[in-house]
Amino acid sequence: MGTPIDTTAIGGCRPEAAICTRAVTRDFQAGQQTITVLHGIDLDIRAGELTFLVGESGSGKTTLISIMCGILWPTQGEVKVFGTDIYELSDSDLVEFRLQNIGFIFQQYNLIPSIDAANNAAVPLIAQGMDRLEARERAVAMLEKLNIGDQADKLPRQLSGGQQQRVAIARALVHEPRLVVCDEPTAALDASSGRRVMDLLRDVAVAEDRACIIVTHDNRIFDLADRILVLEDGRITHDGKDMPEGH
């Protein structure tokens, strides 16, 4: 083989790509009509980078990351996450794949109201079958890393919005997933809190063998990205370190 070949050109995926999509399309049925939301997305997401996916409302950002993290089937195309063709997996294998490899940060946090911060953060470990006390210990350590170790015993409703989000981030990272996805993590926060969260994510979620992909249209934080992908009407129209002119 010798020198590496740019397989993108011939449609294949680079083995080192964290996420690789080829010719991914997604249709939605709206009544009689079929809307095509994604038009043949070819992307390689690299590990060790903070990748932003930006674009206008309705451009298909949420649809695309949902497909990339294994919770929404593409209509056509291929999705590989760390080399695994995830939509070729059986339903239960895909669930297990997500549990082992993917951390989710939801915009609405979706914390369980009746269990405390540490137990909320420990959910993925508990779901993996780890002993509850051990899982909790690890979750507390993660909360400490996020500077809210002192809030471990509090219920979500006793925490501020920003603290809840940190709990949600702890939950996304506690099982050390190789891919972390966030949809609009800063939309509900003011400018400085938003930046702090992003710095935090940079610190904890980006590593040599880990990828972090963030959907946002918050232009206040664009400068924090290693790579910005712009999605317009279901097509990638820009790929670079900075935002294109005019945005």
Partner: protein, 377 residues
């Protein structure tokens, strides 16, 4: 995960109590109503149960129950005594009469005449006095429920009654299972009863029979029928006849059936509504769990554990509530001797299971339908 499921449920105190209340209420209604129903219809057999020593009851072929009986000629007694396998046979008289109390009130009573020599036909035990008192002139023994009815709060011993214009003196209180209508019962000797009950030539209501081999009571009853042309029922058969008579001739089964059905429906309504509200409130959390990597099978188990917890607590409270109810009313003569047959808690357990299976399944459908992708919306 099951721990989380339980915490999700108990953390929402309002809904948890709503669910537990729904189940407890259904259980209470079903258990309590079935208990009262069973005990009430068993009262149809109280006349038989009160004479526990008789293995076979012999009567006119048209007689149906202890209270619906047609009298036989007194020769029936000798005919029965001559049947092989009969160890003893005694006359038994049951009749209606009116008594005038000291205060001048008129009360319908049942007069039961028991064998003069053996006193077979009396209830097993006495609350006050001994059965020997019947050998004194004009003696009657009243049943305990009759006492509370005719002489509330006072002792009936020594009270005089006018029984169809005959003088009677109460000299004892029997510990008897009350009849379906809780009629006052006066026990007296057969010969005395004939005086109390005016009447026709035939006044022998039943012949009570002791079998030489009680295990062969059924065969003996058939032999008695063959040889005497009378109707003979074993104790169990005749008890069942009394119960069947109540079932067939009153609206009781229907009424109780309706209440039990209502208990079930109310349970389904309360629990179903609360359960689906609970699931709806937590649908985002369930969606997040599904996205994170909890399989539908695990989600099912979580909801099953939630339903199981609600069922266990609610059912327990409902049964305990019924026990307290029965216990609390046990001094009331209407509920004398009430017990909870073991089948009834089992029936309500099945009902609870059905309620939870139905409502849990309905609620679960929404969770299973939830796309994990919906969590990003």
């Amino acid at each position: 995960m099951l721990w989380i499921a339980i915490r999700m449920l108990t953390g929402d105190a309002q809904k948890f109590y709503g669910l537990v209340f729904g189940i407890a209420f259904s259980t209470l209604l079903i258990t309590q109503q079935l208990t009262i129903f069973v005990n009430l219809i068993e009262r149809g057999a109280s006349g038989v149960y009160n004479v526990s020593s008789a293995d076979v009851w012999v009567m006119d072929p048209v007689s149906r129950t202890t209270d619906v009986a047609y009298a036989m000629p007194s020769t029936a007694l000798d005919k029965v005594r001559s049947v092989p396998g009969v160890e003893w046979a005694v006359p038994h008289l049951r009749a209606q009469a009116s008594v005038r109390t000291k205060d001048g009130d008129l009360e319908g009573v049942a007069v039961i005449g028991v064998d003069d020599a053996t006193l077979i036909g009396l209830p097993k035990s006495m609350v006050e006095g001994s059965i020997e008192v019947l050998s004194q002139p004009d003696s009657v023994i009243i049943d305990d429920v009759g006492t509370t009815r005719m002489f509330p709060g006072q002792s009936p011993i020594g009270e005089r009654l006018e029984l169809n214009d005959q003088r009677a003196v109460i000299r004892g209180i029997a510990d008897a299972i009350p009849s379906f209508t809780s009629t006052v019962v006066l026990y007296t000797k057969y010969s005395q009863a004939l005086n109390f009950v005016p009447g026709t030539r035939n006044r022998l209501s039943f012949v009570l029979v002791g079998a030489e081999d009680p295990l062969q009571a059924k065969a003996l009853s058939e032999r008695i029928e063959d040889e005497t042309g009378l109707k003979a029922q074993t104790r169990d058969e005749f008890a069942q006849d009394g119960i069947d008579f109540i079932i067939e001739n009153t609206g009781i089964p229907l009424n109780f059936g309706i209440t039990v059905a209502l208990g079930f429906i109310v349970g389904v309504a309360i629990v179903g509504l609360t359960f689906s509200l609970f699931i709806r409130d937590n649908i985002k959390q369930f969606g997040a769990l599904k996205a994170i990597g909890v399989t539908n099978a695990k989600i099912r188990r979580m909801v099953a554990v939630q339903a199981g917890l609600v069922g266990l607590v609610g059912y327990g409270l409902g049964v305990v509530g019924t026990v307290f109810f029965i216990w609390g009313f046990s001094s009331n003569p209407t509920f004398k001797g009430f017990y909870i047959p073991w089948q009834i808690p089992l029936i309500s357990l099945v009902a609870v299971f059905l309620i939870l299976a139905l409502t849990g399944w309905l609620a679960l459908r929404n969770v299973l339908k939830t796309e994990p992708a919906s969590v990003f919306r």
